[in-house]
Structures are given as C-alpha cells and as structure tokens.
C-alpha cells in the first residue's frame, strides 16, 4: 500500500497546524460558527444533532492493521468506543469534542492518515473498487490512479470552493464495484489492444434529489492525460456550475441543463490548453507510485484447498460463510473475504474498538496486513489463503464479525438518518435493524440470494436508495415518518435508478411491505438462479404493485 514520504508527512503536519489555528480562533470567539463552518467542513468536522462529528479519510478504502488499531484507539479514548464506516469508504466518529480535534488529527498523522476533504464543497476523498489488486476480474489496479488523484486534489487552490461537493470513483475491473456511473467523475481504467492503459471517463452521475446516470465523455483517455482532463472538467464546473440553489449545484445538473455536447466541448476546450504541460503524468512517476501497490508475496497454491473443503463438509456455518463472503482472487488458492458489519439487529457499518482491533490482528495474520472498507459499509480482507479460512472464520466469529450475509437481504446500507443527522425526515438505522431481524433466518436469506436493500433518511440519498434493488426513502408526511419504496435500482456496470412503486408506508408497515416485495419475487422468479434484479428487469413494477397494494 501507499506509504508517506517526508513530503506527505510534512503536508499533513502543516494541515494539522493550520486547523489547530482555526479551531483556536473559533474557540476564542474570534471566528463565528458561520465563518468557521466551511473551514471545519474541509477538514471533515460536522456539527450534528448532538455533537461534533469527525469523518476520517480512508483513501480508496485501504487500511493497514496499524491504521485500524489507531482508529480503535481514537474510538476508545475520544469517542464512545465505536466508529461508523460510511458509504464513501470513510470512518465517522460521532461524539467528538471540538477541543479534542487537533489532538486526534495529530494521532492520525502518526499513522499517515487525515480528515482532509471528507466534507465541504471540494473534491472529496477518492473512492475505488474495494477488491482492487485482488479481484479475479481486474484488468488494471485502480489504486495508483486513485492515489495520484488524491494527491492532485488535496488542497487544490482552484477547486477548494466549488459550487457543491465533488466525488470521484475509480475502478479497473469488468464488474463495477465502485458505482462509477453515479459519481461526479467515474473512471474505468482499462487496456487497449496494444496493452496501453487509459480511462473511460464518465461525468455527471449522482444521487440526491435528482438522481442521474453519468454520461461517458471519453472511451479511452490516455493515462498521461488523467490529471489535465480532470482539471479541465473541474474548471468548467467551477465556473459554470450553479451557485444560486444548492439543490441544483452538482455537476449532474450542469450536464443536464447545458446538454452533454456543450459540456463536452467546453471540457475539451479547457483540456486543449492544459494538455502537454505541467499536469502530464510522466510514466516513470506512475510506475513509482504503482510500485507501492505491488501485490504482496503470495504463494503458488492449488486452486482447491482440501483442508477448506473438509472443514466445510464438517461445518455448515463455515460453508455458508464461504459461499457468501468469499470472492474470487486473481491468484489460485486465495480468496477475498468480506467481513460483514451487518449483524442482525445492529446499526449497519458500526464497529466497536475491540472489533477494529480484532480485524487488525486477523489482517496481520491472514491477509498480508491489508484491510479494505467497502462502500457497502463492510470490511474486506483481500488476500486470504483458502487453507486459512477455517481459522479466520473462527477468529471473526469470536469478535462477532462472521455474519455470512454479504450481498444478501440483511446486508443493508443505511445512512445515519434521524438518529444522528439534522437533515433527516425519518430514521433509517432502526428500519435496517427491523428488516434484518425479520429476515434473520439464514436459510431463508440464502434462498432469496443477491438482494441489495439501501435506506436513506431523506432525499439527500446518503444511503444510496436510488441504486438499491429495493430502495427505501424516509419522507415526512405531516410530521410523521413515512417510507417510500423504489425497485430495480443498481449501482454496478448495468447502472439504473430505481422506480417508485407507489404511495409510501408508515414506520409500522414498512418491514411488512419489504417482505411482501420479497415474497412476490420468490413467487415469480423462474428459478433460484434468477436474482431479484434480473427478475425485476424481466417483469417490471406491476406484479410488485399488485402485491403491495392489492387491497387498496
């Protein structure tokens, strides 16, 4: 993984000193909360319903054991002994004192971490495929490019006061696990016939109150032009993006209002003046950064592990876990393990300090000291020997982390909702908890198969409900919490926005409604291999509407 050099370390230390100075001015009253707000946001500090919240950047979701232990330590010392992993591969601490912030940032700097640009109207922490460098279907490892983009976008003098937040995601595999088509810029690294690397560039996707799928502006942008092209996109957006209405300020609205052709022309025009100059990526530099992401030393192993097969035959719980939570690795005899942070009845994405420490220890022992955070709010151990899976499974189970539900109906994404967020209309976490209790039976979950439920507490869509196979949106109906259901959304390479099924449901009916949708699917699928999404795409909304509103 990437390691800071002296320059990187000096940069983060200077930023901590700068923020310490800003916090001191706020605490002394020299700055008002209004003046302080954009400054603290640029450093990941939010004012929530009950307290300040700190969002720590986990660039493209990659962590070492040492970094995870530091996060556990911070949770223990400064917070309530837990942290919350977010849909942007970051970590939030929900109960932090403003006066403690500088000290926490210094602790983070010790392990090459920071909170820069995890919020505010700037280029946010860059996200990437959480299986990067390990997935069997990968063409190009996206992490070196994500790192280069992270550097370029850090305290960018031109793009620190954009009309609105700006999110980049990078993938390099056939299956899009980074949801690039619902990002402001989505990049797919690929190779041409000659083997050269380039990028498909998607612009103007997003969720929120106006969900849009991005447009592809380039099919193969040469590698060397990556930064110049991104700078051109950002410049057009910074100058032209709407600033009169924050709900229309994202680049997706600009692309929509001006039209793809006009925006593409403006970007190409800017790009022409930036290309071939200081922003060109030299091949030697790319190679130097890519070297940090060289694969760990992995052994030559047979594809099948007799040890694992025997253990599975003896233990149905292990078999279930392997079936759902282990994905194909590019090296034979290895697997990618998803550590579910969605145990039945607990808030999605939360991990206690003890669990973070446990994952750190298991990663050091079984996964070449690497951990990933997925945008589905789970953790990933990317390089595990199949032979080691029984022992790893036991270690995870001891920490309460062996829930075998990756990608299943209880692997729910939910935003913080009304329990934490001042913008919320409705609670999301309790709804997720109740759904996971309803579907707690593992046999039933495995029978239902792949099904992504995503819940947002308001139209800002932080829970990504638009791209949930089943999406749930909290709305306010005359002061009462109501929930609207959308069906058929997907954030992968077949990206689609979910369709609203009909009138919403009160809090005491929403779980029944989800169950009716699932039962309707089980009744109409052609065979157990036809997933919910495939079935929905075949039959459309109607059968589900009939199931939900039969007696209306």
């Amino acid at each position: 993984m990437y390691r800071y050099d002296e320059f990187d370390l000096g940069f983060v230390r200077e930023r901590v000193a700068e923020f310490r100075d800003q916090v001191a001015r706020r605490l002394s009253g020299e700055m008002t909360e209004d003046q302080f707000k954009p400054l603290r946001l640029m450093n990941g500090v939010y004012l929530q319903l009950h307290a300040y919240m700190l969002r720590v950047a986990i660039p493209y979701g990659v962590l070492s054991g040492r970094q995870m232990r530091k996060l556990a330590h911070i949770a223990r010392k400064y917070d309530r002994d837990y942290g919350h992993f977010t849909t942007r591969q970051n970590l939030q601490f929900n109960w932090i004192k403003l006066a403690d912030m500088p000290a926490i940032l210094e602790e983070l700097a010790e392990v090459e971490m920071h909170a820069i640009q995890t919020s505010g109207n700037c280029i946010r922490n860059v996200t990437a495929d959480h299986f990067a460098g390990a997935a069997a279907d990968e063409t190009v490892d996206p992490r070196p490019y994500a790192e280069i983009l992270r550097q370029w976008s850090s305290l960018h003098p031109e793009f620190s006061f954009l009309p609105r937040k700006f999110k980049l995601a990078v993938t390099g595999a056939a299956a899009d696990r980074a949801a690039i088509q619902v990002h402001d810029i989505g990049l797919e690294a690929k190779r041409d016939a000659k083997g050269d690397i380039g990028f498909a560039v998607w612009v103007g996707g997003g969720q929120g109150r106006t969900p849009m799928i991005a447009r592809k502006l380039r099919d193969f942008l040469p590698e060397a032009d990556l930064l110049a092209y991104c700078e051109a996109i950002l410049r057009v957006y910074n100058l032209e993006g709407r600033r009169d209405n924050k709900y229309k300020a994202r680049i997706k609205i600009l692309v929509h209002e001006k039209g793809t052709d006009e925006i593409a022309d403006a970007i190409e025009n800017e790009f022409a003046s930036l290309k071939g100059k200081a922003l060109d990526l030299p091949a030697a530099e790319i190679a130097r950064i890519a070297a940090y992401f060289a694969p760990p030393a992995l052994a030559d192993l047979p594809a099948r592990s007799a040890k694992l097969e025997a253990a599975k035959a003896a233990d149905v719980a292990l078999a279930r876990f392997v079936d759902r939570n282990v994905s194909a690795h590019k090296r034979p005899g290895y697997g990618i393990v998803t550590v579910s942070l969605k145990p039945v009845g607990l808030p999605p994405g939360d991990a206690t300090s003890a669990q973070m420490d446990a994952v750190a220890a298991l990663a050091e022992r079984f996964s070449a000291d690497e951990i990933r955070v997925s945008h589905e709010q789970n953790l990933v151990l990317p390089h595990v020997r199949l032979d080691d899976l029984p022992e790893l499974f036991a270690g995870l189970a001891a920490a309460g982390l062996a829930t075998p539900n990756a990608g299943l109906v209880t692997d729910i994404i939910a935003c913080p909702g009304l329990d934490y967020c001042s913008l919320a209309n409705a609670r999301s976490i309790p709804v997720a908890q109740r759904i996971s209790e309803r579907f707690a039976d593992l046999g039933r979950q495995h029978d239902i198969g792949d099904l992504k439920i995503k819940i947002s507490g308001c139209i800002n869509a932080c829970g990504h409900h638009h791209v949930g196979h089943i999406g749930i949106l909290g709305v306010d109906r005359k002061g009462e919490e109501f929930y609207q259901i959308t069906l058929g959304g997907s954030g992968d390479e077949t990206c689609s926005i979910g369709e609203i099924v009909g009138p919403g449901f009160p809090a005491d009916r929403i779980v029944d409604a989800v169950e009716q949708v699932v039962d309707a699917y089980l009744g109409l699928r052609r065979d157990p291999g036809e997933t919910f999404l495939a079935a929905y795409r075949r039959v459309g909304l109607k059968p589900f509407q009939e199931a939900l509103y039969a007696d209306a």
Binding site: F159, F161, N238, A278
Partner: protein
C-alpha cells in the same frame, strides 16, 4: 474600491494604492492609472484606446472574461471581487488569466478576502489583495499566517514555487514574511 478601511497588500508588502477608480458619472482622468467596471470599459473602449496611461478593469463577483479576453494584454490591473469567500469562481478566472491569456499585470482580489484563503489566492495567480478584514490585515502584518506550503499540484504561481521532490506535480512555496 480602496476605502480608508481597506489595506492593499501587494507582492508581499502593504502599499499605497496608485490606481484610481472613477465613480459612475465621474470622467476618466486624462492620465495616470485608472480602472473601470467591466460595463463602463466596454462602453468606452474605443475612446480609451487613445488615452495616455494604464487601464485596468474591475470584475464584480460572477462577471466573466467574456468580451474582454482580447483586451487582456492592455490591462495593467484586473480586480476580481469576492462577494463571499465561499464563491470560488475567481480562482478559475485568475488561473485562466495567468496561464491561458498570459496576463502579467497586477491581479488583485478584493471583497471577502480572508486569511484562511490567502495562500490559495496566491497560488491561483493573484499577486495583490485588497483587504477589509482587520484580523487578516493584522495577521499578514505580523507574518502569522499559518498554512500549508507543500503542494500537490502545479498552479499559477510557478515562479514563486519550486518543484520539490520526485513527483512532477509537487511544489513548495515560501512562508509569508512579516513586514
């Protein structure tokens, strides 16, 4: 434009303003440095062509370079006004002026110019700041701006920065001295 309450900081030191900003209706002085709002400049462009003395232009927040791009080489001063510091359009305008249009005159930020943005402004190509905020004036005078001087991207103050280290896009800038 500069009032008794604002201070002009230019290329590292506080200075007296040598530009004049005629009020609406007030005739343009025959000589000396004079800067005009964009609309007035456009209306009087032909007449100004024969004038003795440098001309500048003042762009209000939200005004673009449209219609005056060709005039850029003749300007001695361009003022970009920040109505609110969180409106970042001027950073792009500044970079286009410096890097694409080759503007070498004084590029001045005015309006909501605050200490926490000074380094961004200098990197984007501004070399003069017209500051109303007393705390910012004091901090600059005492050389107390705390900021980040290691940068991850080339910007528009390339002569003021050095390309430190291995990465082609890496820069460092100097701390602002007190004066």
């Amino acid at each position: 434009m500069p009032t008794p309450e604002t201070a002009l900081w230019r290329a590292g030191a506080f200075a007296a303003d040598d530009w004049r900003f005629p009020a609406a209706g007030e005739p343009v002085p025959a000589d000396g440095k004079v800067a005009l709002p964009k609309a007035r400049f456009l209306a009087e462009r032909a007449a100004l062509a024969g004038r003795n003395g440098p001309i500048g232009v003042v762009l209000e927040s939200g005004e673009s370079l449209a219609d005056i791009e060709d005039d850029v080489p003749r300007f001695g001063l361009i003022v970009l006004r920040f109505a609110r510091y969180a409106d970042g359009r001027n950073y792009s305008t500044a970079r286009i002026l410096r890097d694409r249009l080759g503007f070498r005159g004084e590029l001045r930020a005015s309006g909501d110019v605050l200490r926490d943005q000074v380094l961004f402004m200098l990197r984007a190509g501004f070399d003069a700041l017209e500051i109303a905020h007393a705390g910012t004036v004091a901090t600059l005078k005492e050389g107390r701006i705390v900021g980040v001087h290691r940068h991850y991207q080339p910007a528009s103050n390339e002569i003021g920065e050095s390309a430190a280290g291995l990465r082609g896009w890496q820069r460092t800038s100097r701390r602002l001295a007190s004066n």
